[in-house]
Symmetry: C2
Subunit: 246 residues, 2 copies
């Protein structure tokens, strides 16, 4: 028995989210099917983060135990890839200590959210960006972002149904970058997040970007701890779990 | 009655090619369905080029007659887009003279072929690039390309079943560009092409890029006018009809 970690990417478009469920296609389900084909036994996996339906990953991390002692890290990567569907891909596999669990050992999770901010749509980006055709005041969004960085009660930026969870989270960085004239990246760094939190942060920042809200209004929403004051969720398909750091 | 031209893009992945056919989803079929919904009458369209199954377009051009005299160019664009599926998008609509037909008036058709030349796959590019993980000698490919530019009999680089067509075509430019470390663009400019010709040129250039053939061997293939000497076709999903010039 050896414990293995993998870093992998997936296109969330055609999955009902990350977590295994009966009767629907999920990332974890497809991954575990591939592992069963490779190792001829049922294998349970543990991931750094459970992404929602439609959310992508370029650097998700999972760990699992394999019965084989002979395979190299590269053999493992290649064998899993040969058994995965075209929308999941293992970039790297490596051996880890026998208690490694990416969920508990992740030191940082970085999410990327892409906005196509152009009057004209680009259909080749439609699966991976939120097309938002109205003018955005990126400077105002950056100012609003400063109120969100740090340790806060993020209840106002979470989904319903998480009321048992401790709502205190720490955002260590929140940057808004114009990658090209019409492509905006919102990059969020934190240790962990409430459910729907990144998409909620994006939706609220957009309210500022369109000048419907002043930047300071974000602070009011944060301090209210009240979801009904918040702007809802940005669409899932712009969001990527970009990288997990250990 | 007014004649309109449109420039439009489509993601070829989920179409059985451009040309309308009964019982299968085609680009022309979906476009004409949208036009019928907008103008409440059946409308026949004429396109600059008929792309094969799986081939994309970022700048296809088509023309058609509309019964309305009132709509502006922007109204027409927006009304068609509101009725198209998510994988076709009209970038521009404009009025043209009553005999305009993009097939006969095109002065240049530019195709782009994208190769992801990296050991590791990038699943977010999988629909739009050919993943070719082996080392490519781009300098040798550029040398081979020089033999193809100009007016030639391109029979060796065509699909079967075109034997009634005049096989003489002119390639005015054939450039091989490294856009990033691992992304290669093959850009072909010509007036018109034989069926499958761009994908065949790419497949033959790859034979040179992998050093299986010397650059001069491309000239032998060209002069043979014999398909059996040729390297077949590169996959459809790397190819884009990029732009049509009039």
């Amino acid at each position: 028995m050896k414990r293995v970690a993998i870093e992998f990417s997936y296109d969330g478009t055609d999955f009902f989210g990350y977590q295994r469920q009966n009767d629907v296609r999920t990332v974890q389900g497809e991954l575990e099917k591939a592992l069963e084909r490779v190792f001829k036994t049922s294998i349970q996996t543990y991931a750094a983060g459970r992404t929602d339906t439609g959310v992508h990953a370029s650097g998700q991390v999972a760990s699992f135990d394999i019965p084989s002692e002979r395979l190299s890290e590269l053999d493992i990567r290649n064998a899993i890839n040969a058994n995965l569907p075209r929308d999941i891909y293992v970039k790297k596999a490596w051996f880890v200590h026998e208690n490694f669990n990416p969920r508990y050992e992740a030191k940082k999770r970085i999410y990327h959210y892409f906005i196509l901010n152009s009057k004209s749509n680009d259909i080749f980006l439609r699966r991976y960006t939120w097309w938002f055709p109205y003018k955005l005041n990126v400077e105002a969004m950056r100012e609003a972002a400063t109120y969100l960085v740090g340790e806060h009660d993020f209840t106002a930026f979470s989904k319903r149904g998480e009321d048992d969870t401790n709502p205190i989270r720490t955002i260590s960085a929140l940057r808004i970058l114009r990658l090209k004239k019409d492509l905006i990246l919102i990059r969020v760094e934190g240790i962990s997040y409430l459910r729907g939190m990144v998409r909620s942060l994006v939706a609220n920042l957009i309210k500022v970007g369109t000048n419907q809200w002043k930047p300071e209004h974000i602070l009011e929403v944060l301090e209210s701890k009240d979801r009904s004051k918040s702007a809802g969720l940005a669409p899932a398909h712009g969001l990527f779990l970009y990288k997990v750091l250990f």
